[in-house]
Subunit: 204 residues, 2 copies
Amino acid sequence: MTHSIIKLLEKRISANLFDPAHELPVADIEALVRVTTRAPTAYNLQNWRFIAVRSAKAKARLRAIAYGQKKVSDAAVTFILCGRLPDAETLPERLRPSVEAGFMPPAMAQSWQEGARAQYADAQTARDEAVRSATFAAATLIHAAEAQGLSSSAMVGFDAAALRQDFALPADEIPVMLVAVGRAADGNWPQKPRRPVSEVLDIL
Amino acid sequence: MTHSIIKLLEKRISANLFDPAHELPVADIEALVRVTTRAPTAYNLQNWRFIAVRSAKAKARLRAIAYGQKKVSDAAVTFILCGRLPDAETLPERLRPSVEAGFMPPAMAQSWQEGARAQYADAQTARDEAVRSATFAAATLIHAAEAQGLSSSAMVGFDAAALRQDFALPADEIPVMLVAVGRAADGNWPQKPRRPVSEVLDIL
């Protein structure tokens, strides 16, 4: 497996140290998010929102919520990845372009809406989907950043309730993860060794 | 953004139709999972397990649990991605190679264990982490498969309770997703259009 993408996935590290002088232009942030949204979501729900924390002032607020982690403010941008609780009522709008493009039959869009309504009536299932969608986005963002020669760090160490309040998240949004993106500084750790495949894989 | 990885992320589709004659050798499955485990996890917990469903018999069992979806058995392999509820007691073993490699101070490994113990005392937080880890793995598996010229489909449409029973998942494992991997057949839909970036991105 020698493809350049495989090499990128194999050598990725979660950076802890970022160059605080490095900035990302707004156009670059938008381009990263455009690629990020190609991640899959169930029913094509696209149940996510991305808050790119870029200014010194907003970074200071977020850093306090993330227990003072320096990388939150040192990285060019720290993204707050929000998953939204699935809302079947959003599906007609999300699927309309696929219907209009002619490949998705209108009746199928309707049946997907009914399917989603039934599936997410259970609160835990709905929350799981919000976490899945935002995490798919996080992985895609991280791989897109690597492709641009940038480094990243996914973080779950933050006060979710404080974040919700300070950044005014609506009730249906779950702050799933922070992802810092920027230029790695010197001194980051190597990749942490992984468990052997035999320990985590069963083939049936 | 013209890097080949960006192109790959941009053009990926979730395939619905797979070539049922295509098989993946065990060595290829192991190689895919080896790359998959380079995905990040909180505290380097690596709280996951991968069940590669490859035989006709096992595929038939899984397909029944996945409401008869044909791709489950048509794809060369359908992976069951299990996230494990984080167990801080596993961390000394997971982090030992990083300590032995000399970059992680032993005291830090111990403080991570204490951090994880506190963080995951809350059951919802623990479940969220299992979903996150397995989804990070799913995204990495999907991108690794694309790099090999294969196609994939992430699925959440399955009976989780039946899967748990039929595949004998232990109580601390959550079946987060199925991911079919194989050779796409003709007739798959194009990529479903995405929402405009301006609708999902806020820059602060």
